[in-house]
Symmetry: C2
Amino acid sequence: MLKFEINTINKKSRRGFIHTAHGIVQTPAFMPVGTAGTVKAMMPESVKATGAEIILGNTYHLMLRPTAERVASFGGLHRFMNWSGPILTDSGGFQVMSLSKLRKITEEGVTFQSHLSGAKHFLSPERSIEIQYLLDSNISMAFDECVKFPAEYKQVQKSMERSMRWAARSKAAFKDREGYGLFGIMQGGMYEDLRMQSVKALTDIGFDGYAVGGLAVGEGQKTMFEVLDYAAAALPEDKPRYLMGVGRPTDIVGAVKRGIDMFDCVMPSRSGRTGQAFTSQGVLNMRNACHIDSHEPLDQACSCPACQNYTRGYIHHLIRCGEILGAMLLTMHNIWFYENLMKEIRTAISENRFDDFHDTFMERFQEERKM
Amino acid sequence: MLKFEINTINKKSRRGFIHTAHGIVQTPAFMPVGTAGTVKAMMPESVKATGAEIILGNTYHLMLRPTAERVASFGGLHRFMNWSGPILTDSGGFQVMSLSKLRKITEEGVTFQSHLSGAKHFLSPERSIEIQYLLDSNISMAFDECVKFPAEYKQVQKSMERSMRWAARSKAAFKDREGYGLFGIMQGGMYEDLRMQSVKALTDIGFDGYAVGGLAVGEGQKTMFEVLDYAAAALPEDKPRYLMGVGRPTDIVGAVKRGIDMFDCVMPSRSGRTGQAFTSQGVLNMRNACHIDSHEPLDQACSCPACQNYTRGYIHHLIRCGEILGAMLLTMHNIWFYENLMKEIRTAISENRFDDFHDTFMERFQEERKM
């Protein structure tokens, strides 16, 4: 059971609070990705300093290494990785499809080979939920099948229907406790009628929150927003709505406008490690020689430690030298940027001016992303 | 001019204070190495938290990238890298020999190719001192030539004599200011008479401190201590004595016993990145499977953040996954271990019980290093 409290509704956008056993999450929320029990290149206290209130862990990675049973023996993922706040875990379904080798899917579940060792593993709704329980995840995700994009109607339909049967099995396997919850995942690709059938199936089962799956798979922002226009609206109003694996700053702002409450994406951390910096003026490539003599911070408008204490010239130097500190500073800055964006979004909703915020942001950030 | 104040002398070991324009350094001191303007995998505030009061920067690396002139345009190395404490820079001599390609040494200086770009560069005593001035180094090192070990008497003699002529030129090029100093470097290999000639030459010139060069080049600890027995003793008593590039914990304890005041070494940071942990019980290889289920901290006796908040099992997991946080935590812990060792050394000297400390440490750490 997860209590979800909605504080303000501004047209379709909502500002709320999810109450978990490890603390409260303000929504709309962005969850930094802590793949293998660490938000890459970040100390947990630095993650917290960015304003992040919840992080995401990956069932697929953790089940392979160090294994869910081992994490449980360390007292759960929070204690293992020294993150005392809430944690959401994915179900492993997506990464089984994208990372593992030699998958075999049956109604029972998925047999696959580890991308690390080649060893054979099995995931089913029951095993995924058990793993997430062992990890002590505050928000578990139902185990689903993800189809590649683009896919034919028949294929998407068949896959969605199986995912809904798996959602029911996930719910049956979930051990309900105060401050812990299970989210269902809507599928149906870019087909409105399948999305509606999926919502119906999920709400009949009943979950603590609902995720929109099967987006951000290459369909483009325009199509994603078109799907969200009906898909987000169809989800229950009184539960958190989570758009999985999204995204760029404009994706997030546009999705909040359509009623989404939660996001996760590797973009701020991964792009930090490759030398990209998100700024209020757009995205900078810190590898570019144009920064070599710059005494400016990454972003004049940012109050993160990287912007308070370091110049673009220094960070450019670190990136050119392949220094770990470059990845550390840029990751910290980028997550800070994302979390600050979420704060601005929440404030704009509270003040009933989210539409203006949206329009200004979309214009400014789109325009200047060419930098 | 650098004021050096000796507080306690315990047989040959000394506890003192070096007063620099950027703060006071307690000796015996260990300097973490900040090669290219960063102590690898560490935020400067974390370096400070280890107890480090001074760090080392590398003239060779910084002159190639981002260049000394560029560091100067950023207000010097302290401001460029956000380290407000004292900085010592080496002269570049050692790394020109060990890293660069196609060296040509003349009486004037060394012409060499960058190991990064292949571009031609030139270093002389005058240019080395100018670079260290541009970096705003608190302690500059005289430019010297380093011979390979082992080397014939004649070769060592010829090289040492040239280094002494270069030391005089370094002194002439140095701009003396309050809180900034220049150290001479003793050479002479493993030959006592050459070491004595070198001391004589250096003290005739007069420096703010004296380094022992040409050790830790493969001669082994026993030989190094034999050389230090006469070499350290021959150096002026009223100036800091610096053993360059040393070393393992037992090297440091043994050298302090012989009158050395300052050390630098990449060992704690480099070995951190490769999964080694220094502990009060010896050295651990965190890659080893024996740690996979350990709920213990790296070192029960250590108060560093890595030991307060993380288990060996978690750190093993990070190292096995190649996670940056593993390098971050182990580097922090190892430098903390070194700095804590220096604190214990200083306290033992203050309390006139350094000999006991030395004997206990040598026995304990030697014995258990096999772990």
